[in-house]
Symmetry: C2
Amino acid sequence: MYNFCNRLAVRSHLILAPHHSHPAPLPMESALFSSSPLSAFVPRSPPSLASRPLRLLSLPFSLLIHHSPPPRGGPPLLPRRLLRRFSPAAYADADAAAASAAESRSSGDRVVARPSSELRMGRPGGSGTGVAGDEKLRSLRELFARPDVAIDAYIIPSQDAHQSEFIAECFMRRAYLTGFTGSAGTAVVTKEKAALWTDGRYFLQAEKQLSPDWILMRSGNQGVPTTSEWLNDVLPAGCRIGIDPFLFSHDAAEELKEAISKKNHELILIKDFNLVDEIWKSRPKPPGKPTRVHDIKYAGVDVLSKLSSLRSVLVENGCTAIVISMLDEVAWLLNMRGSDVPNSPVFYSYLIVEISHATLFVDNNKVTPGVLDHLKSAGVELKPYEEILSEVESLAAKGAKLWLDTSCVNAAIVSIFRSACERHFTRLATKSRKQLNNGASSDLISIKSEDIRNGIPNGLYKVSPVAIAKAVKNKAEIEGMKNSHLRDAAALSEFWCWMEQEVKNNLTLTEVAVADKLFEFRKQQEGFIDTSFDTISGYGANGAVIHYKPTSDSCSFVGTDNLFLLDSGGQYVDGTTDITRTVHFGEPSAWQKECFTRVLQGHIALDQAIFPERMPGFVLDVLARSSLWKVGLDYRHGTGHGVGAALNVHEGPQSISFRFGNLTALQNGMIVSNEPGYYEDHSFGIRIENLLLVKEVDLPNSYGGIGFLGFEKLTFVPIQSKLIDTSLLSPMEIKWVNDYHSQVWEKVSPLVNVAVRDWLWRNTSHAACWTLKSRGKMRTQLMSTCLILSISMFARPIKQQSPPSYSFVLEPEKSYALEVKKRVFLRINL
Amino acid sequence: MYNFCNRLAVRSHLILAPHHSHPAPLPMESALFSSSPLSAFVPRSPPSLASRPLRLLSLPFSLLIHHSPPPRGGPPLLPRRLLRRFSPAAYADADAAAASAAESRSSGDRVVARPSSELRMGRPGGSGTGVAGDEKLRSLRELFARPDVAIDAYIIPSQDAHQSEFIAECFMRRAYLTGFTGSAGTAVVTKEKAALWTDGRYFLQAEKQLSPDWILMRSGNQGVPTTSEWLNDVLPAGCRIGIDPFLFSHDAAEELKEAISKKNHELILIKDFNLVDEIWKSRPKPPGKPTRVHDIKYAGVDVLSKLSSLRSVLVENGCTAIVISMLDEVAWLLNMRGSDVPNSPVFYSYLIVEISHATLFVDNNKVTPGVLDHLKSAGVELKPYEEILSEVESLAAKGAKLWLDTSCVNAAIVSIFRSACERHFTRLATKSRKQLNNGASSDLISIKSEDIRNGIPNGLYKVSPVAIAKAVKNKAEIEGMKNSHLRDAAALSEFWCWMEQEVKNNLTLTEVAVADKLFEFRKQQEGFIDTSFDTISGYGANGAVIHYKPTSDSCSFVGTDNLFLLDSGGQYVDGTTDITRTVHFGEPSAWQKECFTRVLQGHIALDQAIFPERMPGFVLDVLARSSLWKVGLDYRHGTGHGVGAALNVHEGPQSISFRFGNLTALQNGMIVSNEPGYYEDHSFGIRIENLLLVKEVDLPNSYGGIGFLGFEKLTFVPIQSKLIDTSLLSPMEIKWVNDYHSQVWEKVSPLVNVAVRDWLWRNTSHAACWTLKSRGKMRTQLMSTCLILSISMFARPIKQQSPPSYSFVLEPEKSYALEVKKRVFLRINL
């Protein structure tokens, strides 16, 4: 599934679409050039520019503010990080996964192994119609006047405290307050007004769910202000605007602060309580599922080694500690997994790694004795989740040099550290000044930076070193990914075999029922834990809605008249999968075949790419689009995202995208998706997605001693040959399809039963891949060289002889179409 | 010819090589999105980031400083602009054109229509051996002590005052002082030491030419400091380091100032005289050739219209005037041409365009009565070249809002404007403070920006709007480019026809003689004026030296045992050409053919690219490299540069390069080169270069309403088929070669005599393009589908029938090789 939100990529840089929106100057981030998983801890690149502030901050603290002036008339050019929150629809490709996640969460605390149909039942906060909303607003506004609050407005975003893609129900405050359950939305409540921002995906849903007291802000529509523009507009100058600083990354909070400062508003960080929680009477409990140890046979590297590598990086960067707040980074570093949120095997926690010890902030009830032993043996001690702030404060008191990735660490943590540092600085400055007054020369009045460094705490604001270490998979992780992909392929083969029959017999087969059935097949596979995101099951026009998520009460039947797009993935004990296939159960039109074939050509071109090491992914993006561009087509999402090993289905820092702001180099051991597509509004959608492992390739030459990289496929499920217009393919591309299907057959056929084996054979042997229709001249051999070539290359040799030759089995019951374009004399063995 | 220096691209942003050097954060510049040549004046994009400072500077002036910290152990990550001057070899692909230019200049003031052999005679400043150098150094150092100088060191760069690629002899001060005549080099003289920095191309030459008093700094070698590092090292803190501010762009001077400030050195701008000129007794006179009017039939748009468009941009940007210092911008804007420097039809001048009038600063003797009338009718008045500074000062006095492109306008102009502004600011500030003291509130002590804008002058520091307007060619310019390319193709066909014979008969045919002969052929073409750069004529291993320039005393003979690379271009009255062909006059090896074919595949892939509008060129660069990457090969230069219309052979702002810092979008009407290559050290070099016109394409679809662009070829000279390994080519690629050669035949054959026509026929009809060797089975038709297809596509149909069929003429005297890879039954009409 494409990471439409690209939240993870956003963590480390600003992303703007170059040709689909007004271009703007792009600050870039430098790439990291490690090759081994552990050396990946070591960021060898030079510091980045404004977008990722990297500096040992000497006091007084300057603000980390990024801003690009918006062009006239165009969409706002705020960093995507902010945009996502405050005007999500400015990016049409906002997160499909998040969309489905928000709704799946509403089923309560059942987060594992549920069929899709169950995921859409129940909504937190009731229907949202009627006066319930008013009551909530009234209660919320009453809090504004409390002396410990004292604000004029409150912003309620969709986030949790960890910038998670999937969040637990108890953190769905925006959905509770507004009644609007879509995944993307920001609520802003002033004393008089209440407004909700969401994007085009959710306009209808929001209209239905919001009470009349809410103003719906249709983000992306002409003239619709951003949240901060609106606040600057409706409030008199100099107001106090409150946020829960846990729910904003530090960088996002700083940008908000900057934006509202134009009207002299003050940003109030209310960190002791969340105002929505205060009025949420039957708020669900925070998830408390036990965590588990991620077996070393899947993790590959033990916790002590990982911590030791991380500590080396800290030392090299002059740091004494780091706060890790991204849940997948904590899980990866500690070889632990959990089930606090749907789709991602993570658990709510923070981790502080210091040079001599490490502390995991997690609820005790999540830690089984086995996990406790595991942590103890790695020297990790436990503290309650809530103690993170006091610990950060005491770190400052101890003079810590703290590494904070301010793009994801929340504003509560960063601000408490900063104010603690400031207190220490003031103390030291006073002390120094006293000493200076006792005779020191006046031009030494400024405190030497070494003194500051030695005497008081400070912060290194830089992208987390864990992100790149986690992205570069080790041998065991790769092994696990490969194995889980084969089991996933078996489940998918069983599913498609079933589906092919079912769709012809069952006229009321819904998109949701299809997703449920797929879940059933996956569930039967060993080590299956959960879906890795909510299945995108879109028939016909629904497939063209990139963010489509069917609901049981409003989805389509799947038929034989149009294309069916299925994007799904599984979480297994040893790996994470993500695959999209598009199929037609009837007769595709020539246009659909052309579009499918061009998407396939892009998929093949990227799959086959060989490229020098140190190359950012965006350089390759054009390969996936060229075949579409040739006829004026394109798709509005990136081509590839990173994938975790038995972790989040979307992870950074690498990506393959037309947004060329991400300079992270692709590295040996990284995993990326390859998912070009084409979407025709109100008609159909096409996407073909495999996961790829970035791998060193052995070439006959090595220009300038540079290593070259390529991709190894992880996904092995047939691509529907019926949809391929072979006349568009080059011999190389035809060979690619043949070779791929040969591999699919070899790898997956041993894992399925006889009936599925037959389906697999038919879908990998190409007996039905090409069609040849007699025009009364079949025996006179007047045929197109072009087509003949296609056939000979396309058909996987059923019987391979020595020396190689190809025999084609033309099945009598099939219909064979032959386009004769150029005349040659040629005979075929019939 | 590839713009290895990329000076023009550098004008507007920093460029760093992503995979051939350590990557660094890249500030980016926004693209301009105009479609018509005149609307191209209007920069619609948002302002750029730090790399291209764009701001209405409110006083006091902040410095425009760009710096990225160097990584440990890697090459210095200073902006390329600085690097080029102070450590050129950090970029191995520094400017071949500049290299040849520097030497060509040494022939004195003969700048038009000279054979290449003449270009290398004579060297300014004598041989450089012996004591002549010492004498010059002594004289120079004597000046250091003069009260109006008072410096401790002086830096002598290679530049003229206009950042020109080719400069007049009188400005070759570094060559005069040091005796070293290579194109790239910076001399630094302190009271005790003298050092010259140059790069790997020139180590041997510099060793020969420098006197023992000079230290040779081998830039790019391990441990070799930059000029500023060296100055900081050898001088005691707090020295005065002098430069001629005319020879540094403002941005470069600021960077230098910042670098030396680390040792508290002060940068002294000595603008009233150049110290080298003071000691240069027989310094050549500045060039004084008359200018000419560039006919409106070639220029397309008259001067008044161009000025009017420019003025609209000034008004929109709140400016009242602009200083244009790039010589090609002046020439383009005024529809004038000159011959002050070799290879570029420009003349030394500055132009100031104000809202109501315009002033050209040029020596009177260059202005003929015809030119004078032309200028008068456009309302352009004349002033002497030297008055530029006083005019800028008086503009400031008049309160001008002045547009200055500080990446190319020299430091003398910018600094005089700034200090004039500062004087006015101080005056105004004093006045305001007085008013405020008479009762105004203290928090109004800062002067309102509107007051400043209305009351005093200021500067807009932004890339020149003329650059993009010039880059987008109008109809007449395109017409002229097309016509001149056809005449150039005729000359090249005559040349290659001659060469093919000559090389077999003349065993002492030198690379220089070849270049001279080519010059002869070009000279015979109507409207020919000059070469557009010194011909790169490299046989065998010399072809692998990307910067190779043969000299009559040290060049190779051209033979039949290796590849011969010829990169050349012409200046015509109506257009500018630039073409590279690589040929073999004997039997190329299989490896040479493979390399050539892969370069050709890259050339074809870029030529055939279709891409959405608003796409920067670097996105396409990968297309030109993929075929080489597949086998671990690459080339260390970019793929395309802009080309002027009857102007500079290298122009910005667009480029197609692996350096992805240049965000300028390719636009309809731009011209770029397409020149992938492959270079095997000490063995051979390959480059295939055509010029391409960026053109809107009409496609069956238009996704999201976006326009798509493609390329139209301007260059029509055969590509040697002998060097193509057809088995590597796809049918599409084979078709491309066929179609291209068909076009070459159609367009060029009417322009040449019978003998050359025959050569052209042989080299475009592919009779020799494919070889087919009988293995005794030719009549039994056992052949490879693949090869058959290749042949059928590759051979331009000699006799086309209806319905289409292909007949192959297998010539009996030829040797035919047939690789049978796969068996089909097939018959060919013999």
